[in-house]
Symmetry: C2
Subunit: 385 residues, 2 copies
C-alpha cells in the first residue's frame, strides 16, 4: 500500500498570498485537514483573516514582503495572480515549494505572454496583436472594432475595453496592450483542471457562464453544460494541454469562447481557484479548493465529477450605495433546500463589489435554474444606515 | 414576502462557549454567513482557535469568566454542556440571547435531573434511582448488576460504569449518581432535533451507532437506519417531545436504546451539536451545524433529509503512545470518492482521544460501509518522533 505525502500533512505549514474570498474558501479544506495556514494580504480586514492560523498584513506585490512571508512555510500558493514573481523566485531559491511556480505566475499575470503561449502551443485563441499604449493601438487602427486588454493588472473586467476605434480607449490604456479580434461568441464556458506535484491531472466538468454586461463580471454559472460532446472534449483537451505545457501545479481555470462556427478558443486562464468553480463546494465530489490543496501538497487528486446540477450567482454590491454592508435573505430563499449562501465577510460594500455568492443544487439544471431565479429576488446587499 | 432575521445577520456577534471540534465545525457555517464569532476555551491550542474572529482563553466553567466573555455578544451558545449555568443566567440578565438557555443547560448537564425530566414527561427511559456516592450505591445493591453514571461532569464515557456489584465502582464514583437498570439493547440510535427561536422544529433522520466497548465511545455511525418505521417514528416523537418540553432552542441530540422487546428508551441527550451528527456535513441537505446556527439566530430551519447514505468513523488516538500527533492517510483512501477526512487540529494525541473523524457517502449504505472499512485500514494517528 502506497504511503502518500499525507504523512505529516497535519503539520504542514501552508502560506497563501492573498486573503480575499478565494483564500477564505481555500482555508476550509485546510481546516478539515488541520494544516497550519499563514495568509498575506494588505487589507487588515481581508475575508480570509479570521480563518487562518496566522494573518500577516502586507503587500504580496512587494518582493521583500513576500520573501519574508514565505520564510518557514513548507508550501506557498496564491489566490490571486498579482503577486510579486520575484518574491516567489526568492522563496523557491530558499527551498519553499511554490505552487504555482514563479515562472507560471509570470506567464499568466501578463495577458500578452499568455496569448503568445497559446499561439506557441497550438492552443486556439482569438487572433491578436501585442502593442504598447494608445499610440500603439492607433497604429493598429485597422483591427478595430476590437477587444483591448491591459497586459497586466487587469482584474474583474477592469482591464478590458470593447471599442470601435482606438480613440474610444480610456486614458489608463496607455500601457502594454493585447488587441484581440472580436469573435462571434455562441457560448462561454470554463473548465478548471488540476495538476499535482506528481503530474496527475484531472478536469472538472465544464461550466457555462453568463455575464453581467454592465459590470463585465460573471453573473451566473451553471453545470452541467449541454453542448455537443466533441466540443466539450476539445475544450477539455485544450485546458489540460495548457496546464501541462505551462507546468502548472495546482489549478488552472481556463475560460473559453465557443463560436457559432464551432471553434473552441481559449479566452484566458488563471492558475488558482476561480469564481467559475465556487459551485464545486456543494455540487462536486471534490471542491476546487480541496483539489488545489491536494495538487499542491502531493496528494492524489479527488473525483471532480458532479453530484448534482448547480447554478452559482455572485452576490454583488448594489449599484447605488457604498458603506458598511449587510446581507439580507428573504423567504422563500431563507428556507430553500439546496441553497447555499456564502458571505465573504467584507465589512464594506460598493457598487458591483463581489460580496458573496450563492449556489443552488438540484437533480436537474432546469430545477436549479428555477430555484436560483427565486433566490436571486430574495438575496441582496444593503448599506447599514 | 417575509423579511427574516437574516437582515443584519452578517453583522451578528455570536459567542461560543467551548472551542473543541464541535465549536470548530460550528464555525464553518458562521464563516459562510459572515458572522462575527468569539470563542471561549481554557486551552490556548483549542481546535476552534483559528477559525473564529476572536479567541478568548478562559474557563467556561467559571461564572465570572463566562459573564465577561458574553459582553457584547448578541447571541451566546455552547458546544459543551459543562459550562457555568450561573454565567449563562447572568448573560441572559444582561440581555444576551442565550441558546440553549441557562435552564436547559442546568437540566441536561445533570444526568439525574435529565432522568427525572424524562420520567415527569412520559418519555420512556431505563428504570433508575438517584443516589449519592458509594454508600448510596451500596444501599441499592439489589439493583445490581447496573449501569452507574456520575450525575455531572461525565464525558465521552468517562463517567459511566457497567458493574455487577457496588464494590466494583471506582473511587471517583463517590459522588451523586444515577443507577440504571441494564436494558436488553438490540440497537442504539440517535436522533438530532432542532428547535428555533420561533418554535419551528425539525428532526434529522435517525442514525445507527456502534460502540467501541473498550473506549465506551461511539465508533461508527451510519444512516439511514433500516428498522421498522413505527419504532423510528416513536423515537422521532420522543426526541421532539423532549426538545419542546425542555424548551430547547438549538439542537437536542437524543440517544436511544431499542430493546429486543421493541421498547424505545431515551438513554441521554445533549443540547448542542453532537458526534452523532458529523455525517450531516456531507450527507444531509443541511448540516447539524448550519441547523443549530439557523435555530439560534431565528432563521427558518433547513431541510435535514439525507442526500446519500453515510458512515462516520471517529479517528482516535492510537492505544499506545501520546505526544505530538500527525494524521496518516494511505491509498486507496487518499483518492477515494466520497471520503471526507476531518482532522481537528489537536497538536497532541493520547490513547483514544478524538483526533478527527471521517465520513463516507455513497448511494447505498452497503457501499458506504464497504468503503468505510477500506478507509479505516488506511487512516491513522501517529506520534511524531
Amino acid at each position: 500500500m502506497m504511503q502518500t505525502a499525507t504523512d505529516g500533512l497535519s503539520g504542514l505549514r501552508l502560506g497563501i498570498a492573498g486573503g480575499g474570498q478565494l483564500g477564505r474558501m481555500l482555508l476550509a479544506p485546510c481546516q478539515a485537514w488541520g494544516l497550519y495556514t499563514r495568509v498575506l494580504d494588505p487589507d487588515d480586514d481581508a475575508p480570509a483573516r479570521n480563518q487562518c492560523t496566522e494573518f500577516v498584513q502586507g503587500d504580496f506585490r512587494q518582493a521583500d514582503t513576500l520573501t519574508q512571508f514565505a520564510q518557514g512555510c513548507d508550501v506557498l500558493t496564491v489566490e490571486i495572480e498579482q503577486v510579486s514573481a520575484e518574491g516567489l523566485e526568492r522563496a523557491e531559491a530558499a527551498g519553499v515549494a511554490v505552487h504555482p511556480s514563479a515562472a507560471v505566475l509570470r506567464l499568466f499575470q501578463d495577458k500578452g505572454l499568455q496569448k503568445q503561449f497559446y499561439f506557441d502551443n497550438d492552443i486556439p485563441t482569438a487572433p491578436f496583436v501585442l502593442t504598447d499604449g494608445l499610440a500603439g493601438a492607433r497604429a493598429h487602427a485597422g483591427r478595430f472594432p476590437a477587444v483591448v486588454k491591459l497586459r497586466t493588472l487587469g482584474y474583474d473586467g477592469k482591464g478590458v475595453a470593447v471599442v470601435d476605434t482606438p480613440a474610444q480607449l480610456p486614458p489608463h490604456f496607455d500601457a502594454p496592450l493585447v488587441i484581440e479580434d472580436k469573435v462571434d461568441i455562441a457560448h462561454e464556458i470554463a473548465i478548471i483542471v488540476a495538476r499535482s506535484t506528481s503530474g496527475e491531472v484531472r478536469a472538472f466538468p465544464p461550466v457555462g457562464m453568463t455575464f453581467d454586461p454592465q459590470a463585465n463580471l460573471v453573473d451566473t454559472l451553471y453545470a452541467p453544460v449541454s453542448l455537443p460532446a466533441a466540443l466539450l472534449h476539445r475544450a477539455d483537451d485544450l485546458a489540460l494541454r495548457a496546464a501541462e505545457r505551462a507546468g502548472v501545479v495546482g489549478l488552472l481555470a481556463v475560460e473559453f469562447f465557443l463560436t457559432h462556427d464551432n471553434q473552441v478558443l481559449v479566452n484566458e486562464a488563471a492558475p488558482r481557484p476561480h469564481n467559475s468553480g465556487h459551485h464545486t463546494i456543494e455540487a462536486c465530489h471534490t471542491s476546487q479548493y480541496m483539489q488545489h490543496l491536494r495538487a499542491i501538497t502531493g496528494q492524489p487528486l479527488g473525483d471532480p465529477s458532479l453530484k448534482a446540477a448547480a447554478v452559482m450567482v455572485n452576490i454583488l454590491g448594489a449599484p447605488q450605495g457604498a458603506g458598511p454592508a449587510r446581507l439580507v435573505v428573504d423567504e422563500p430563499a431563507a428556507s430553500m433546500t439546496g441553497l447555499f449562501v456564502h458571505w465573504y465577510g467584507k465589512t464594506h460594500t460598493r457598487p458591483k463589489r463581489k460580496m458573496g455568492h450563492f449556489t443552488v443544487t438540484a437533480p436537474t439544471l432546469a430545477e436549479a435554474r428555477a430555484k436560483a431565479e427565486v433566490a436571486r429576488q430574495c438575496i441582496r446587499v444593503e448599506v447599514v444606515d
